[in-house]
């Protein structure tokens, strides 16, 4: 009998097929394509429209990497140039088929983007910013100096278009269609698994990792997608204008793409189109500014500073934010059934076996040869005075720190050398002492990311099953009715509960709770205690760290005590708490 058979209520979440909900978008897009193909534009207008269309696609890339994933790319013009030169040199010099060149443009930028991303994205964001600037400079250098291949400063002329779209009008219609397709994909991306992972990485990398997301891979994907969109846009641009030269792909252009993205709103493709359209049209109206070299970019620079300061979400962000707030209070969340926890039981009687675990920071032995054996089912507490190594132990267990020595076995699997997201996939769930939620998302979305952990056997296929699981977990902690509210509107205690729900939704084998009672008032502590009982009643094993002795002594059946990084006592709760070493560690001794 499968898990879903004995769920009591009927599936509470049901949504219309995607294709029907999004039909208006496709109708609108079809109308735009028809307009682009049918209306008679003069050459000037046509060029502006062609530029706006292709630039928008490149800016979509930034909305993925910067808006969704929170990583910077200051070389979008270089990727745009890669695409343009691939199509330019391919069709003009090598006389290759346009479509082949366009595919080549995407392939080259994919490789370049993935390589650049993989070399840098393990490191902090400032590395990425500087490396992309460097990359941009190198690409410009090569375009100008490798005259034999790129024709140097003269640029590439006589770039051809596909047979099918020889007239400028039909080519514009083709580009608008591409814009609509790519725009649809980018618009839909945040609601896919990859998109949610990107948002989680943007909001909190550590929490994303311990919720089963491969942070590095997600960032590389985002960066590669951005590069490919740049390449595609560049290829279309080259076909449209028949001539490209290095100055069109300089660092200044990368900054222009960035400004377009920020102005319109970095989080959405609609913002990209607004920003691109404005920054192409405004300069056409203010042509006199171009007579003074530099003035124009100086204004861009100033606008970047002002937008970041006063309108961080851009024009569209400002509009849609108001809309989201309004909707959050009107749209009632779906009703959910009871949460089922079915911790995996592949190993033996011991769920977590830690042997000889050490973590040294230089000369400091924060954790020194600790053994812990957590029995299946029930609550195991890890206690100790401040600085005894409890949180370090937890961080080594969840993979945020690498163990200096020792072995960690979770339910029969050796997880000692796994990355955080792999441990989560192996069945580890955790919460943080200082709450780490994804702040730009709703409570429901936060919990959905937990539910999406690789290897979670408790969710079915599709978005509806995911939402249902997340709703069950939120309802379990008592916050189901507020599922669609943003994290910032919850109290501290409720944010704690959302973190627990996020871990529960993933149906872990072992739940690590890092000081869950810290900062809670006495009523909230009682509620927490009740919640722990209800979790334990479903057979989920809990390893808890806390200072609150009442909570620990009432909830835990088994206690391990640390002091100065070493285990000083271990055993059944009451016996341990009376142990003379434990008493002296807490109260001091003569």
């Amino acid at each position: 009998m499968s898990a879903s058979d004995n769920m009591i209520p009927a599936p509470a979440v049901r949504s219309k097929p995607l294709i029907i909900r999004h039909l208006p978008y496709f109708i609108g897009a079809a109308v735009l394509v028809a307009l682009a193909a049918g209306m008679q534009f003069d050459g000037y207008i046509l060029n502006i429209l062609l530029q706006a269309t292709t630039f928008s696609i490149a800016v979509f890339g930034l909305s993925v990497v910067l808006g969704l994933c929170g990583q910077i790319n200051l070389a979008q013009a270089a990727f745009f140039g890669f695409g343009a030169y691939a199509v330019g040199l391919g069709t003009a010099d090598l006389h290759l088929n346009f479509w082949l060149c366009l595919v080549g443009a995407c392939a080259i930028t994919l490789v370049a983007g993935a390589f650049l991303g993989m070399s840098t994205l393990r490191l902090g964001g400032h590395y990425l910013a500087m490396v992309t600037i460097s990359f941009q400079q190198i690409v410009t250098l090569v375009m100008i100096n490798a005259v034999g291949v790129t024709h140097g400063p003269d640029g590439v002329a006589n770039i051809r278009r596909p047979e099918l779209f020889q007239s400028s009008q039909s080519y514009l219609a083709f580009c608008v269609a591409m814009l609509a397709i790519v725009g649809y994909l980018v618009w839909h991306l945040p609601d896919t698994k990859l998109g949610r992972a990107m948002r989680a990485v943007r909001d909190n990398e550590l929490a994303a990792g311990v919720n089963g997301i491969d942070v590095f891979r997600t960032k590389v994907y985002a960066f590669a997608v951005c590069a490919v969109l740049g390449g595609l846009a560049g290829g279309l641009f080259a076909g449209g204008f028949a001539y490209v030269s290095p100055d069109q792909f300089s660092f200044a252009e990368s900054i222009q793409f960035l400004t377009m993205s920020l102005l319109g709103g970095v989080a959405s493709p609609i913002g990209s189109v607004i920003g691109t359209g404005l920054l192409i049209l405004i300069p056409e109206w203010l042509r006199f500014l171009k007579s003074v070299p530099g003035l124009y970019l100086a204004i861009y620079g100033l606008s970047v500073i002002l937008i970041i300061r006063f309108m961080p979400d851009g024009i569209w962000g400002f509009v849609s934010d108001a809309f989201t707030r309004w909707r959050a209070h009107t749209k009632a969340p779906p009703v959910a059934g009871a949460l089922q926890l079915r911790p995996a039981t592949t190993g033996g009687d011991i769920v977590l076996e830690v042997t000889g675990l050490s973590k040294h920071f230089g000369g400091l032995k924060a954790v020194d040869g600790v053994d812990i054996a957590v029995k299946r089912g029930g609550v195991h507490a890890l206690i100790g005075p401040n600085g005894s190594g409890k949180t370090t132990t937890l961080n080594v267990l969840s993979g945020l720190y690498k163990a200096t020595s020792g072995k960690i076995v979770l339910d029969g699997t050796d997880i000692t050398n796994m990355a955080p997201h792999q441990r989560t996939a192996a069945g580890l769930g955790r919460t943080f002492q200082n709450i780490r939620l994804f702040r730009s998302m709703t409570a429901l979305e936060n919990v959905e990311i937990g539910a999406e952990r690789p290897g979670n056997t408790m969710i079915g296929k599709g978005d509806d099953a995911l939402t249902e699981r997340a709703m069950e977990a939120l309802t379990f902690v008592g916050l189901g009715s507020r599922a669609n509210e943003l994290i910032s509107s919850f109290s501290y205690g409720h944010q704690r509960l959302i973190e627990i729900a996020r871990a529960l939704a993933s149906n872990p084998t072992l739940l690590l709770l890092d000081e869950p009672a810290a900062g809670l008032n006495s009523t909230e502590k009682l509620e927490l205690h009740e919640l722990l009982k209800r979790i334990a009643a479903q057979g989920l094993t809990i390893l808890i760290i806390d200072h609150d002795m009442t909570l620990v002594s009432e909830a835990a059946q088994h206690i391990t005590v640390l002091n100065f990084g070493r285990r000083i006592a271990d055993g059944e709760s009451m016996a341990v708490l009376r142990h003379p070493d434990v008493v002296s560690a807490y109260l001091g001794s003569e």
Partner: protein, 290 residues
């Protein structure tokens, strides 16, 4: 062999400039956890200020003082206009704002002064001295001398003076520093002034060797950033060693491999370090704690 020694001297000279700008990067990074992408523009603006003053007929030393005073002022404006309003946001908005500031500064100078590179003569009338097989250019000697002095000054200032210790305390733990009665915003202001002046000094020193141009800022900043990564991000000694190493590598690369791609070597070295030793020579400081 003579050529090698000559190149080594030139490389160390140019590397010293990168080291000075890198030092400015590191100081701001340590105080605010933000990488200032306009650090190179400080050098460029100072060089232009210097050119303007010298053209007005002011004595060289007075021009020097005025240019550095101008940089101090720019440091204040930069802090108040770019960093301070965003200090409670994450690093990304701040980075983007400093990039915006970099674009604003370089293009404002372009709009005012035009695209032609300017020439600034060196501090000394004597062009240089011949020491055995090596010709020691006087401006390079000055650069190396000033860098050595500043490194020593920096050490003395941060380790031996109360103000230096307050600055260190601020960069290590802002909340605790403010609880101890240190004005965090004043300390950050001082850091910005100090690194603007350092960047400006580097620009003025290197101006007679290169041309004074709009691009000099971004070129120097790029190299200086590469230097900080090579040395180990956030490490003062690393910034200096990285800067010198990069200057030498680049000079030899230009002499033996390719001149047009001279500015590309820094990038290649950077990528190599990122792939094989991202923590740099001296190692980066540990990241966020859970």
């Amino acid at each position: 062999m003579d050529l090698v020694l000559q190149l080594l001297f030139t490389g160390i000279g140019i590397g010293a400039v990168y080291a000075l700008v890198a030092l400015g990067f590191v100081l701001i990074f340590r105080a605010t956890n933000v990488v200032n992408f306009a650090q190179g523009e400080f050098s460029m603006v100072a060089a232009y200020l210097m050119v303007v003053c010298v053209e007005l007929g002011l004595p060289y030393w007075l021009s020097f003082v005025i240019a550095l005073a101008g940089m101090a002022l720019l440091g204040v404006i930069f802090n108040l206009g770019v960093y301070y309003p965003l200090r409670h946001r994450t690093y990304l908005p701040v980075i983007i704002a400093t990039i915006g500031a970099s674009i604003l500064l370089s293009n404002s100078v372009l709009a005012i002064y035009g695209p032609q590179p300017q020439v600034l003569q060196g501090w000394f009338d004597t062009p240089g001295i011949q020491l055995g097989p090596v010709y020691l250019d006087s401006q390079y000697l000055l650069i190396i001398g000033v860098t050595i002095f500043l490194v020593l000054f920096n050490f003395w200032f941060f380790e031996k003076t109360l103000l230096g210790k307050k600055l260190q305390a601020t960069s290590q733990d802002k909340e605790m520093a403010s609880l101890l009665g240190i004005s965090v915003s004043t300390m950050i202001m001082i850091t910005f002034i100090y690194s603007a002046v350092l960047g400006g000094l580097a620009g003025i020193l290197v101006a007679p060797v290169l041309f004074v141009s709009i691009q000099m800022g971004s070129t120097i900043a790029l190299k200086a950033f590469a230097a900080t990564i090579i040395g180990g991000f956030g490490d003062v000694a690393g910034a200096i060693v990285g800067g010198l190493a990069l200057g030498v590598i680049e000079t030899f690369g230009a002499a033996y491999i390719s001149v047009p791609y001279k500015d590309g070597f820094a990038f290649l070295v950077l990528i190599a370090f990122l792939v094989f030793r991202p923590q740099g020579i001296f190692g980066e400081r540990v990241a966020e704690k859970a």
